[in-house]
């Protein structure tokens, strides 16, 4: 009778047998068979069988007479840690003592000696209804069943998987470290660039960081200046090695080109190997006879900005895929920063230019009188339009005594703030000087003497038309420094008064002529700057002096106010110009006689295209400073 089932602690097999040696032997054999199935090896099986046999034999041989008919049991319990053997008996029981050695000849006790020698743990439990001998031994070997062979294999496989996982993880950690270092380098360099806007320093720092991260030995970063034809060294690891400028031609054939030019022409990364290169001229060979590396073009869109060449002194260890990718990333990033820096420069330049022009414009506007002085019997009207591009036209009218007025129209040839400043100075000087002299030619001469040095040192000059009008006598004296002629008009006739003279700032000791004329009846004068006559249609046709004269002839057939003439002339000029942009400042100053002139002249005799009229600076203060000027 035997039963075998899994127990809490493991699998077990139990045999019940009669109190008989033969049956005992059968029982122990059966238990050995069970143990063999559990994967015990030969030696373990034998030892367990022997111990069971000794115990069972003892149980049979020493069974109490009254218990001979009773059944005995022997069982084996297998679990992963060990084996437990149990044999019950109905003997009188024995005393389990500590194992001690026995002489070979000693018969009794030999069985117990064997059990205690072969088993790790032996216990004997005695009771009135029977005793149980418990023997335990640890398993020394793993199971050897086919399924367990698979378990062994899977354990090895698991170990291998673990190892390869660990390798993959350390590879990933290395890569992560590498990438995070390169990102940190980029951030560091950008922060510095943001602070200093120093592109050269940025390029130098970024490329040196790349050199370090990619464990390279040399680099040379070349830039193609805007509109340039040479790839010039911008940053390098060694100035002594790479100091040439490489001429660059967009359409050069790529075969047998040195690596940097090949990369520049094809806009693709190129590998460089000093030993294998077939180019007859290869500047990168200075890096070493066995040097190798990569050249990356720096492009933005289809525009070539430069090249980055980076490499090692020998070709034994080419860049890894990760390092090559990092080089590409840094090259692309450098290209973006170059473009940014150029934009920034342009923006700054544009802003500076716009700002300067703004200042110049304000100065120009400030030059112009807010109000034109009242004249007895005559009115003044003026118009001024700025092209905002070129330097200052200005006009002015200084009343001189009761019946005189000095009319000025001038054009400072030059640009921006310097022109506007000269215009200011000229106006101030005139104001100071007219206090003492009503002589236009002398005024121009003196003006030229005062301004010649400064004007010629900056290569500027000024044209001016000065007309002194004696309103009582109805005469005018005009002098010109290379300026447009005065137009004298009346309903009867329109004539031009042209006086020659050199513009101020051309000759150090210029002298000027003046001419006299009389006003018509009713009288009218027009002074203007050449921006007016040079005004063009979209097709390029100029207004011209003749057309101006013709227009006046047609319009002033009847007396018109100075304002009316100005407005209509301005309208005519705008119509003529049409959609074409204003190319030059236009200024005009009109004096016209009108019988209905009011005692209080229109304070807004001045009108200009800019509705935001600014206050005129205090030229009186400037004039008083200049009042010491000798005429």
């Amino acid at each position: 009778m035997s039963e075998s089932h899994p127990a809490e602690r493991g699998l077990y097999h139990r045999v019940v047998f009669k109190c008989d040696l033969t049956e005992a032997r059968t029982a122990t054999r059966s238990l050995r068979g069970f143990l063999a199935e559990q994967g015990l090896d030969e030696s373990e099986q034998f030892n367990c069988e022997l111990c069971l046999a000794e115990a069972c034999n003892n149980a049979v041989q020493y069974a109490a007479k009254a218990s001979v008919g009773r059944l005995l049991s022997a069982e084996a319990i297998c679990h992963s840690a060990g084996i437990e053997l149990r044999v019950s008996d109905h003997t009188a029981g024995f005393t389990l003592r500590k194992k001690r050695g026995i002489a070979p000849g000693r018969e009794s006790g030999r069985g117990l000696f064997i059990i205690q020698s072969l088993m790790d743990e032996v216990r004997y439990f005695r009771s009135d209804d029977g005793n149980t001998l418990v023997m335990r031994t640890t398993r020394t070997h793993q199971q050897h069943r086919p399924a367990d062979a698979a378990a062994t294999a899977s354990l090895d496989g698991a170990r291998q998987q673990l190892e390869s996982c660990q390798q993959a993880i350390s590879g990933m950690a290395r890569e992560l470290c590498f990438r995070s270092e390169s990102l940190a380098a980029i951030f560091r360099c950008c922060a510095e660039l943001g602070r200093t806007s120093d592109l050269e320093g940025f390029g130098d720092r970024l490329m040196n960081d790349l050199l370090h991260l990619a464990t390279a030995d040399w680099f040379v970063l070349r830039m193609l200046p805007r509109g340039g034809t040479q790839l010039q060294v911008f940053a390098t690891s060694s100035l002594t090695l790479f100091d040439d400028a490489l001429p660059f031609a967009e359409d050069a054939s790529a075969s047998a080109l040195p690596a940097e030019l090949a990369a520049a022409c094809t806009r693709k990364a190129v590998e460089f190997d000093a030993v294998r290169s077939t180019a007859s001229y290869e500047p990168l060979r200075v890096a070493g006879a066995t040097a190798s590396g990569l050249v990356h073009p720096l492009v933005f869109g289809d525009k070539l900005l430069g090249t980055l060449a980076i490499g090692r002194r020998n070709s034994d260890t080419p860049f890894s895929a990760l390092q090559a990718e990092m080089i590409r990333t840094f090259a692309e990033f450098m290209a973006v920063q170059i473009v940014n820096a150029r934009h920034h420069e342009e923006q700054v330049h544009v802003r500076l230019v716009a700002h300067e022009l703004e200042i110049a414009h304000r100065i120009q506007r400030a030059l112009l009188p807010c109000t034109l002085p009242p004249l007895s019997g005559f009115r003044l009207a003026a118009s001024w339009e700025s092209a905002r591009q070129v330097g200052g036209d200005f006009y002015d009218a200084f009343p001189l005594g009761e019946d005189g007025v000095l009319l000025v129209v001038a054009d400072v040839m030059g640009k921006g703030v310097p022109a506007a400043i000269f215009a200011t100075i000229t106006r101030s000087l005139l104001r100071a000087m007219t206090v003492r002299s009503h002589h236009p030619a002398r005024l121009l001469k003196r003006l030229n003497e005062l301004l010649y040095t400064e004007l010629s040192s900056v290569g500027m000059f000024i044209t001016a038309q000065l007309v002194f009008v004696d309103l009582k006598r109805r005469t005018l004296v005009a002098a010109s420094a290379g300026h447009c002629p005065v137009v004298i008009f009346s309903p009867d006739e329109v004539k031009t008064l042209s006086v020659t003279g050199t513009p101020l700032g051309i000759l150090p000791h210029a002298t000027y002529r003046q001419e006299t004329a009389t006003l018509g009846e009713p009288g009218g004068l027009l002074l203007y700057t050449d921006g007016l006559t040079e005004s063009q249609t979209p097709s390029g046709e100029m207004f011209g002096h003749d057309r101006l004269v013709e227009w006046l002839r047609a319009r002033v057939t009847q007396p018109l106010t100075a304002e009316a003439i100005r407005d209509e002339l301005t309208a005519e000029l705008n119509r003529f110009r049409g959609s074409a942009p204003l190319r030059d400042d236009q200024a005009l100053l009109i004096m016209a006689e009108h019988p209905a002139t009011l005692a209080n002249p229109d304070p807004s005799g001045f009108r200009d295209a800019d509705p935001l009229a600014t206050a005129s600076p205090d030229f009186a203060a400037a004039s008083s400073v200049l009042s010491h000027v000798q005429t």
């Binding site: 005992a24 030892n47 070979p104």
Partner: protein, 103 residues
């Protein structure tokens, strides 16, 4: 079990087991077959798959019987015991009484 005589030599073989069941019979049979002045007694254990303490006891009894005549120089040999049984002999010091040989 096979018993062979060869003059004063005795050879026993084909022993399946030496256990509590047959140990006494084994001892008696061999003792009966023993020559008066045995020269060599050899027991072939190559087929013996199991020996317990009773079997050991029987072997020891044979040792005593062979040496009982006050006669020195009897060779008692156990031939080709299986490894587990060899270990058992060593454990119980029987290898000091019997010569253990391998052929």
């Amino acid at each position: 079990m096979k018993i062979e005589h060869d003059g004063n030599n005795l050879r026993i073989s084909d022993i399946a087991e030496l256990n509590a069941i047959n140990a006494s019979a084994f001892r008696d049979e061999v003792r009966a077959a023993m020559p008066a002045s045995p020269n060599m007694i050899e027991i072939d254990l190559s087929q013996t798959r199991f020996v317990d303490s009773s079997g050991l006891g029987a072997l020891f009894a044979l040792y005593k019987a062979a040496n009982n005549n006050g006669h020195d120089g009897v060779t008692l040999r156990l031939v080709n015991p299986r490894p587990s049984i060899q270990q058992l002999f060593e454990l119980t010091q029987l290898h000091q009484l019997f010569e253990i040989s391998r052929r």
